[in-house]
Amino acid sequence: MGKKQLRRMDLIFANDEDFRDILKQTLARPNEEIIEDMISSGLKGRGGAGFPTGLKWKLTAEEKAKNKYIICNADEGEPGTFKDREILTQVSYKVLAGMAVCAKITGAKEGFIYLRGEYKFLVPLLNQELDKFHSACSELGLKFNVKIFMGSGAYICGEESALMESMEGRRGEPRNKPPFPTVKGYRGCPTVINNVETLAHTFTIFKYGPRKFRDLGVQDSRGSKLFSVSGDTPTPGIYELELGMTVQDFVDDFGDGDTKAVQVGGASGFLVPRKRFKETAIGYQGKLTGISLPTGGSMMIYNSSRSMYNVLNNYLDFFQEESCGQCTPCRVGCQQLVKGVDAVKRGDKPTAYLDKLLKLTDTMKFTAKCGLGQSVANSFQSIVENFREEMIY
């Protein structure tokens, strides 16, 4: 049987020269109608958590407040993702159009792009685009201003409440939730925060209507999605694919013929071993049969030459460094995991110690304050359970 090629989509990076007309038409529509479209399109957040975008906009629109804010999350720090930078490089006007429509719906007057420090070289280009955008806004009678806020090398600042702390001039330490940003976000005001790619997709929905988007993908996982493909693959890069494919389909298309495992969703996601390729789909948790993994689009491919111990060690090192240190389960937990796997490998601890570490990650999942500490269990458990012998020998 020949390899099945996944259908490559070209919605996000298509150059839509009619962008001003689309923006104008959309801004002229009633708020309720636009929100209705967003909800029926089935678009879910592409930053990783998968919250329905239309609902997020609706909730913020319903809040009564003098000031509201729109934030584009361009912190893109998850290992293995690099698609947001490409969107901002090629089609930032779509992201800005999404922000403008969201501003009109919610009544926000100010917006921000939180750009990771590693992408600082993009600032001159983005400023040019912002100039064009602001003149389009004033032509269309929309009072909305967008500024760039630079990050400074902290993965945790991609977490929405840490990002807002950072914008307010403090350490990027996540806040307690609730209240959620839709109620109390930046400067304590209702705030919509969306991933770069989410905002770019909204433009597709404005342009083609919700049906075209909804027709792509599968139940609960609608539309296309950008995948950042790296590791042991002959074709690393950024690809727009329909949601709902299985890891097997993906590996047939992108693997090097010797794929041992795929890390779906970056270091905070799951490692899928070869024996699970067929039964694992890529999408949001829903009524799909089998396992469905959500993802910000990071797909890291490992072939049989790779040591899963080294892979896990690398992730743990990442988490230990990037934990904000605010809560004990995550701060101490990450340190103990790093030490623990090393001790087992060296033979300083019995192999049964791995089970204690597995329990520790369970505890972290339930007691850590934010998604960072909670998701360490994902990769730890999926690697240790599937490649236990590699952790020991």
Binding site: G77, F82, F149, G172
Partner: protein, 156 residues
């Protein structure tokens, strides 16, 4: 006024003196000096009317807001998994060898520092590194030597 005082005043002038201006001001100091000295932190604290502990607490949180003296060119080699698999160690060795310093150190002439950093977002073009704000990808040891040579020429 010292050079730092002037710089901090100018930065506060353009970004404002609210707490929200703290990060942009600290980033401005980095852009010029590549590190934030204790003295600079005291000046920032005075300018924004907050405690120096707040300034230090914030600065020390962010990996790009160095509070240790660094060279004019800060090299950050990506050490996250894909770069690690695709030859990061050889890149690091080539840098250490050309610059005659170890990871974490700065050359005696204060021109170059070698650091490691987490995922730079160039996994499809690994291995990658940053020199200040500029990105270098798909590196080989030979390329690294050439890049450093070019920077040295620029300095000569």
């Amino acid at each position: 006024m010292t050079e730092i005082q002037t710089l901090v005043k100018d930065l506060a002038q353009s970004h404002g003196r609210s707490r929200e201006s703290l990060l942009p001001i600290l980033q401005g100091i980095i852009e010029k000096d590549r590190f934030i000295s204790e003295y600079a932190m005291i000046e920032v604290a005075k300018e924004l009317d907050i405690s120096t502990a707040e300034v230090y607490g914030t600065a020390s949180f962010y990996s790009f807001l160095d509070t240790e003296k660094r060279g004019k060119y800060v090299i950050r080699v990506c050490k996250t998994i894909t770069c690690a698999m695709k030859g990061k160690n050889q890149i690091l060795l080539a840098l250490e060898d050309t610059l005659k310093i170890n990871l974490g150190e700065t050359t005696p002439d204060k021109k170059f520092s070698i650091l490691e950093t987490n995922c730079l977002g160039w996994c499809h073009k690994a291995p990658a590194m940053l020199i200040n704000d500029d990105v270098y990808t798909e590196l080989t040891p030979e390329m690294v030597r050439q890049i450093i040579e070019d920077y040295r020429k620029r300095e000569a």
